[in-house]
């Protein structure tokens, strides 16, 4: 309820800031790619697009279909898009490797990555994972699990995990990697009850890696910060709209999924959207405005990456973070 009031207030205030002369101006063209194929994980962008919010902010946006074959960082690097979403850990590595990208909004505040085990196989605490077969995804998905094992001094047998959780379901592995908004629900909908599962949320083990953020190249940001921040504002408005009108948002998402020929399950997408709300607007003691990248989160991720030998130097926070939220508020 309170949330709805805040949302509508936000939308109301945001509309006040709209320059009246917008209609006379020509819309600025911009391209955007999410880091995965259409699903509720990106509901905010699709909703903002469908509801004309980008247009309202003066952007003529083109959303490119994301997916495993279209890595968003590469698209950004090659200049095929102006904006892309990616994980904070990915972005820090890219920046450290020399790609001048800028975080203009940290959408997800909390890491959705988790490990799941079946209680029936005797796993209830992190220590129980020792010497067990653990399904781990590749690349940036393994940073947190690796740090987790390091933290709890666990020796595990890593089994590369595919996109499915079937190996886990059939007890081919004892522990599986999962996204809270995705695989966890897939497991529930394969007949396992929550009380039969032990979950290890990384954000509960001091390994909170905020995930999806909006990135642009430094040069793009410097050339037209107003465009970047308009994109951020429009995207956030899209997100808040999606959270306040979940069923409408779901229909939009399902439309894009069907367009992209991705199998769509409404129940699953509803779960995902609800979890996105938990991740974007976490009920925290020290809440920050939507889209804020906190220094401590940045430092935690950077330090973990450095410890894991994935980066040599921690990028400068000020130049990494475009702070569009503040800009937008001004």
């Amino acid at each position: 309820m309170l949330m709805n009031i805040i949302l509508s207030l936000f939308i109301f205030v945001a509309s006040l800031f709209l320059p009246c002369a917008r209609a006379e101006e020509t819309l600025k063209n911009a391209f955007f790619i999410p880091q995965w194929s259409p699903q509720a994980q990106f509901a905010g962008y699709y909703v903002a697009y469908e509801k004309g919010i980008y247009k309202k902010y003066g952007i003529n946006l083109n959303i490119l279909p994301g997916g495993p074959s279209s890595p968003s960082a590469e698209f950004l690097e090659k200049g095929e898009v102006d904006f892309a979403t990616m994980w904070l850990s990915t972005a820090i590595q890219k920046r450290s490797q020399g790609l001048k990208l800028v975080n203009i909004a940290q959408i997800i505040q909390r890491s959705a990555l988790m490990l799941i085990a079946k209680k029936a196989r005797g796993i209830n605490r992190p220590e129980d994972i020792d010497n067990k077969k653990v399904g781990i995804w590749g690349e940036d998905f393994k940073i947190q699990p690796t740090a987790f094992f390091r933290k709890y001094k666990l020796k595990v047998k890593v089994i590369p995990q595919s996109y499915s959780v079937n190996l886990f379901l059939r007890d081919g592995v004892d522990v599986a990697s999962a996204m809270w908004y995705n695989e966890y629900h897939t497991i529930l909908n394969a007949g396992l009850n929550p009380d039969e599962l032990t979950t290890f949320f990384f954000h509960e083990h001091e390994l909170n890696f905020p995930e999806d953020g909006i990135y642009t190249l430094e040069k793009t940001f410097k050339r037209d910060p107003a465009l970047s921040c308009a994109f951020v504002k429009a995207s956030i408005e899209g997100w808040l709209y999606a959270f306040s009108q979940p069923e409408e948002a779901l229909d939009i998402v399902l439309k894009y999924m069907s367009k992209a020929n991705v199998p769509a399950n409404k129940v699953h997408q509803r779960w995902m959207l609800r979890r996105m709300k938990d991740l974007v607007l976490p009920v925290d003691k020290d809440r920050v405005p939507v889209g804020t990248l906190r220094l401590e989160d940045f430092m935690r991720v950077s330090n973990t990456l450095k410890e894991g030998g994935l980066i040599k130097n921690i990028p400068d926070f000020k130049s990494f973070y475009g702070e569009c939220v503040k800009y937008a508020e001004k």
Partner: protein, 643 residues
């Protein structure tokens, strides 16, 4: 309330109600038993249908399993080169109609030291067999079909998936194969065959139960593999459906299904929203589950239809029964009502009313007959009664005339001799019936002597009255100058005795008052002794010798006695109707009471004394009707005082 209703209403109510109860009981029991029987039959039928389908699916899957299992056996126990291997896969795909594609995928460097991946694949996208190396397309090492049997170390059916080009659901059977290296069994790779699940889909979709019953197949993860609703296939699991429907029991059913259990559970159809029975069994080789839905309403449709007819017939029957009962009741109550009305008329005196015609020979008919008979009898009786009443009335009127005559012969003018002040006389008579046997009389024999008589004839009514008239006439005729009272009575006695065949008699007190001296010479022929009321105070019965009644014995001799009245004295004469008057307690008025009453009434005129005594007798007898004539007479001597 029911008490006041008519017989027809009660009959209809009770018959219809009790019949309805009986009908409901029979119907309910019949419904219950037939439903149970049908459900049992359907359940058995369900088992057969599901088991048959399951066996067919199992046969298909097992036939498919044999192929990769044999290859795996061959790979483990034989040596081969690349050409032979490729030839083997090709032959398998070529020879086995049901197999879409087959591949052998090796562990890194397991086939050739020089190449990391080796996974030749033959498949039939159309009628031609085509070849591709899987490793050129993706890293098969992390595929479910490779990883799962590898990690589980046993063959596995892979979760169904849409085949290339979409539309057709496929599944794969993967068999791990090993090679003994240094006595140790080492994992080398996977043999996989792809099969279309079209055949299974046909088996399941051919399951037709009743009208809308259907079967569906779910995979080990609960994914809908076949279902009449296409949108669900591969898109939903039984659990996501449960979540969407917020149906916890369905989730529990799903869990039982994927855990290889079988069962019969109530289930709300996803397609029709109808309540169904769902019978599910596991497919043992793949761990999938087959379910068949039996719509409950269709199961019992036949008995539901039958029941509708039975209920209709029942209600119709009850309606007919009610009509029949009304008809029967009417046939009873109509004549009864007619008779009741006729009885009212009869009660009102109309005996000529026609009773309703009842043709039946039942109780009502008999009652009607009895009524008719009663009416006739009543009419006859009343006719007789009318006649009797008429004759009685005639007699009564004659008696009245007789009474009038009788009364007319008694002197009734008081004072009878207004010019004779030396005495006073007053008499009254109250007959018990219209004509009575008592009489009184008084007359002058000569200028000085007044003869007075009081008499009581035995019996009552007309004979007594006639006898009395005779006696009175005789006395008056015999009482001539110079005759004493005994002579008068003797002569009367003689005359009465002649032809007195009825042996009637009369008690007579006959006195002759000397109006100058106040002496009374009298003869008492069996009559009640009179009371002598002295002016000075004392009252006494004049006890005589007690002579015989008159009219019984011809030669009876009577005597004359004498009393002397002082001026103011009176003689009170009466008949036994006075002293023998009875009250409700059967007590007699008695001489004693008479004496006392006279004492109370004394001092008045003689007429008032008699009226006073008459009043006392009436008060004493109260409601008791008078049984005998009451006659009283007072003779008062006044002497010179009166002149």
């Amino acid at each position: 309330m029911l008490k006041n209703r008519g017989i027809a209403f009660k009959l209809v109510l009770f018959f219809t109600l009790s019949s309805a109860i009986i009908f409901t009981l029979i119907f309910g029991y019949n419904y219950y038993v037939s439903r149970k029987t049908i459900e049992k039959n359907v359940e058995e039928n369900a088992r057969t249908i599901v088991t048959n389908a399951m066996n067919k699916i199992e046969t298909v899957l097992r036939a498919t399993q044999k192929v990769p299992e044999n290859i795996a056996y061959f790979l483990e126990n034989s040596s081969y080169n690349e050409k032979e291997l490729v030839q083997l896969i090709y032959t398998v795909v070529e020879k086995n109609q049901e197999i879409y594609g087959a591949a052998i995928a090796f562990e890194p460097y397991a086939f050739k030291k020089t190449s990391q991946y080796f996974a030749p694949y033959f498949y039939k996208p159309n009628q031609w067999i085509e070849f591709k190396s899987i490793d050129k397309y993706y890293n098969y090492l992390y595929s479910d079909w490779y990883q799962i049997p590898k990690e589980l170390k046993r063959p596995q059916w892979i979760e169904p998936y849409f085949g290339e080009g979409g539309g057709i659901i496929m599944s794969s059977y993967s068999v791990p194969f090993y090679k003994k290296v240094d006595g140790k069994r080492q994992f080398k790779g996977i043999v996989i065959v792809d099969v279309s699940l079209e055949q299974l889909r046909n088996i399941v979709s051919s399951i037709k139960v009743l009208k809308t019953g259907y079967g569906f197949l779910i995979s080990k993860n609960g994914t809908i593999v076949t279902h009449p609703l296409k949108d669900l296939i591969m898109n939903e699991t039984i659990f996501s459906i449960a979540e969407a429907r917020n149906d916890t029991p369905l989730r529990e059913i799903g869990r039982k299904m994927i855990h290889g259990e079988s069962g019969l559970v109530p289930f709300k159809s996803i397609t029709t929203e109808k309540m169904c029975w769902m019978y599910f069994v596991p497919i043992p080789s793949s761990g999938w589950s087959l379910a068949v839905l039996f719509p409950q309403d269709e199961m019992i449709e036949d008995i539901t239809n039958l029941n509708k007819i039975v209920i209709f017939l029942g209600i119709f029957g009850l309606f007919l029964l009610s009509i029949a009962v009304v008809f029967i009741a009417r046939s009873i109550t109509e004549p009864l009502r007619g008779m009741a009305k006729a009885t009212e008329h009869i009660g009102a005196g109309n005996l000529d009313i026609e009773l309703p015609l009842v043709k039946t020979r039942d109780e009502v008919g008999k009652l009607s007959e009895a009524f008719n008979y009663m009416k006739a009898s009543l009419k006859e009786y009343i006719k007789e009664l009318t006649e009797a009443t008429a004759s009685k009335e005639r007699i009564e009127s004659e008696l009245k005339i007789a009474h009038d005559i009788q009364m007319s012969i008694l002197p009734k003018r008081f004072p009878p001799f207004p010019d004779r002040g030396e005495f006073d006389i007053y008499a009254t008579i109250k007959p018990a019936k219209e004509v009575g046997g008592d009489f009184y009389d008084f007359f002058f024999i000569d200028d000085e002597h007044l003869c007075f008589v009081i008499a009581d004839v035995s019996g009552k009514g007309v004979p007594a009255a006639l006898f009395m008239t005779l006696t009175k006439t005789l006395i008056k005729a015999k009482a001539t100058v110079g005759l004493t009272s005994d002579k008068i009575i003797s002569r009367v006695n003689e005359d009465l005795c002649i032809g007195n065949d009825l042996n009637m008699f009369v008690t007579v007190f006959c006195g002759i008052l000397n109006t100058i001296t106040g002496e009374i010479l009298y003869t008492n022929g069996g009559h009640n002794p009179p009371l002598l009321i002295r002016d000075k105070g004392d009252i006494a019965f004049v006890e005589g010798k007690g002579e015989l009644v008159v009219g019984v014995m011809e030669d009876t001799t009577y005597t004359t006695e004498s009393i002397i009245l002082q001026p103011g004295d009176s003689l009170f004469l009466y008949t036994d109707g006075v002293t023998e008057a009875m009250n409700e307690k059967s007590e007699l008025f008695s001489e004693e009471r008479l004496k006392n009453e006279i004492l109370k009434c004394r001092g008045e005129s003689i007429q008032q004394v008699i009226e006073c005594i008459m009043g006392e007798i009436a008060q004493f007898s109260h409601e008791v009707s008078q049984s005998d004539d009451i006659t009283m007479m007072i003779v008062q001597f006044k002497g010179n005082k009166g002149r």
